[in-house]
Subunit: 197 residues, 2 copies
Amino acid sequence: MKLLPETLELITEQLSRFPGIGKKTAQRMAFDLLKWPADDVRRLGELIKASVDKIGTCSICGLIAETDPCPICAHPNRDSSVICVVEDTMDVVAIERTGRYRGKYHILGGILSPLEGVGPDQLNIESFIQRLDAVDEVILALNPSVEGETTALYLARLLRERPIKMTRLARGVPMGGDLEYIDEATLGRALEERNPL
Amino acid sequence: MKLLPETLELITEQLSRFPGIGKKTAQRMAFDLLKWPADDVRRLGELIKASVDKIGTCSICGLIAETDPCPICAHPNRDSSVICVVEDTMDVVAIERTGRYRGKYHILGGILSPLEGVGPDQLNIESFIQRLDAVDEVILALNPSVEGETTALYLARLLRERPIKMTRLARGVPMGGDLEYIDEATLGRALEERNPL
């Protein structure tokens, strides 16, 4: 005898596919759904279904978007001569939140990782090369990790022959950070790259 | 300019309504969905929509089920003279997993909690009373908390006039527990209610 409704089991199974959502959390979510107003549940189901057809990636920069080109590539007032290279769309969200950047982006859709079998072919690099002719500066805004450094070096080598300025995000102590608790690698780097006051 | 697709924002907003799912986790889930095969996403959306019409509660015991009566109430070989009262469907799942119970259930759909404004009227008690005529034993399997005790006392008072045996789950040290780490309330209770070997 199956005790729980099959639909509930199937929803639990699918929800537990999300990263960070275990079997228990997925089950709690499925049960919680039964307490929602019927219209809200239908709406969530409809939104999830609609995401397949409505959301895609920008054919120029690779940003997750509902339009192609995406709002940033289509924006008339953003500086096309600067491209900021990031790993994924969430990084663009983070940079946009600063309000300090008016150039364009390029989303790699991942990061080089020989260990996980991610090579240049799996990344959105081909279309990046095609954009470089009208570009003066490329900012590498990759995560400060081994994979981030590897990817940055790979891209730097690709751009070596071109008259393009390459920069990357400054490393140092984070704003509001407490020196006592900052790891030695960050603090060491901040010391080496100290700026005149 | 809206940066992220509206559908994605709406999905994030809805997912963060689930208990234990914060804004960040919901956003990570929404982004992850974009990497799923299209058919799987459509299927999840369809399942969630279908849950509204397919899943209900058993009109006899209150169990969440796709059929009415539920599989347990409809089962010919379960003992109708014993009813085990629980807070919700998850408790039934836990008890069924033990494989030690062959009676029926009654799901209160909550627990008395004056602090949170949950009174007897909000619980599935009316239909419980109607089931009592053919019942010999009521097992109160409520959580060992203040609310659980309050609810148990309330139900005990309701049943006082009837020739029904009332029992509740044994309290004591959990199997596999380490005496050193068991809280004093549990250990105290286990001492008081010690059994002959």
